[in-house]
Subunit: 130 residues, 4 copies
Amino acid sequence: MILNVDLTSDTPIYQQLRDRIVEAIAEGVLTEGSLLPATRALAADFGINFHTVNKAYDLLRQQGLIRLNRGTGAVVTLTVADPPFRADWTARARTLLAEAAAKGLPPEEVLATCRSMLDSFGANQPKDTP
Amino acid sequence: MILNVDLTSDTPIYQQLRDRIVEAIAEGVLTEGSLLPATRALAADFGINFHTVNKAYDLLRQQGLIRLNRGTGAVVTLTVADPPFRADWTARARTLLAEAAAKGLPPEEVLATCRSMLDSFGANQPKDTP
Amino acid sequence: MILNVDLTSDTPIYQQLRDRIVEAIAEGVLTEGSLLPATRALAADFGINFHTVNKAYDLLRQQGLIRLNRGTGAVVTLTVADPPFRADWTARARTLLAEAAAKGLPPEEVLATCRSMLDSFGANQPKDTP
Amino acid sequence: MILNVDLTSDTPIYQQLRDRIVEAIAEGVLTEGSLLPATRALAADFGINFHTVNKAYDLLRQQGLIRLNRGTGAVVTLTVADPPFRADWTARARTLLAEAAAKGLPPEEVLATCRSMLDSFGANQPKDTP
DNA sequence: GTGGTCTAGACCACA
DNA sequence: GTGGTCTAGACCACC
C-alpha cells in the first residue's frame, strides 16, 4: 500500500493520511479485516511523529472505518452508512459539485469524471463470485 | 437570495457562507455581474461579525468567483477553471467519492445523486442564446 | 442463556461479555450458585480467544459477582454491596444521568426509563419466601 | 466552577475532565453560551499538560456539547439528543442499573438516588419564567 | 510487540 | 490571546 502525503501542504498531515486510507479502502486495496500498519511503523515510513498517525487512525475509528485494538493493531471494520452520514455526505457533495458548476465545468464532464472514479473503485473490489 | 447558515454547526460560519454563495452561483440565482449584499448588511442579517462575512468574500475572491471593489461592493465575476483548479477539484472529489464507496453506498446511487444535483444546477442557468 | 455481543462494536468484547452477564444476573437468569459456561466453550461459541472470556470472568470476580474454582468452573456468588462499591456506583450514575440531562433528555423520561428497567429486572428475581 | 479530578485515578484525566464538565452543564453551572476556561489556563490550574485538556474539550466537541473557536475560546453549545445517542445511552444505563441490581441494591433505593440526582440537576437550571 | 496516555515545548492560524 | 498542529520522548496496559 502506497500512501501519498505532502508534508508541505496546508491541509493537516493527519487529514491527508485519513483521506489516503479512505481511498485505499474504496479502491479495495484495504478490505474488511485488513491490518493497517502499526502507528509507529507508518510514522517512521513518512518521517513523521507517531502521534500524527494516531490522530489519523482515531479519525477513522470515529467514522466507523477501522477498529483499534491494543496489542493486535488496527483493522478495517466497515460499518453501514447511517442516515446522518448520508445527509452530511450529500450536503458536502452538493457544495463540491456547485463549485465545479460555478467555475463553468460542463456537467457532462463532471459526471464522467465521477463515473470513472467510481468505476475505478469498483474494479478492485472483492467479488462474491470469483 | 436566501442563504441558509447554521450558527450552531461545527463548520465555520464563513465556510458555510462561502458554500451557500457558491451554490447560489451554480444554481443561477447569482450570475455574472450580480451584486452581493454589503458585508455589514449581511452580517447584521445573521447577527454575526462583519469580519466573518469579509472572510467568506475574500475566499470567493481568491477562487476567482467574485471581485471586491472598494465602494461599489462585491460583484460576481466568473473566471474559467484553470488546470490547477481542476486538479485540486478532482482530488477533492476523489476523496469524497471514496468516502461514499468506503461506507458502502452503491455507486449507481451516488452517481444518480450527483446527476440530479447537476441537473438542478443547470435548470436555472442563463442561456448563451437569449 | 443467550449473550448478545457485537464483535464489530468499539467497546471491548470482554467488557460486553461482562455487561451481558451482569445483566443476566440482574434479570434473575443467573442466580446464586448458577454455573457459568466454561471459558473455552464460550470462546468457541463466539469465535473469540478464550483469554478474552477469561478477562471478562476475572472482572466479574474482582467485582464479587462470581467465584472461579479450578476444575469446577465459574459459579455466581453474590456478595453484598459494600460502601466503596456504592460510592463508585453513585459517581458513575451521576455522570451518566448528567450526560442525559446535558443532552436535554427530560428528567421524567429518564426516570421512567430507569424504573421500567429496574422493574424488568425484578420480575424474574427469586423470592426470599419460597 | 470547581472541577474535581484525581490525578492518581486509573481513569484517564481527560475522561474525568469531560465527566466533570458534563456534570457542570447538567447542574446548570455551565449553560448555553458559557465560556469555558482556556485550555492552557485550565491545564495550569490542575498542573497538567494542555494537551490533556485539549483532548477532553475535543471529546465534548464530538459529543455536541461545546464548540471550539480559535481565538474566541470554547463555548457551551447544546444540541438535541439524536436517536443514536438515546439508544446508546439507554444501553449504558441498562448495564449500570443491572450492576446495582446484581449487587443487591434495592430498586427503590436506586430509583430514589437517581431521582434526587436529577432533581439536583434541575434545581439550578435557568428558568424561562424568573 | 501493539495502541493509549501524558508530558514538554515548538510554531501556526486566527481573532 | 485563543485553539490547532506537530514533534519528541516517556511510561503504561494489553496481547
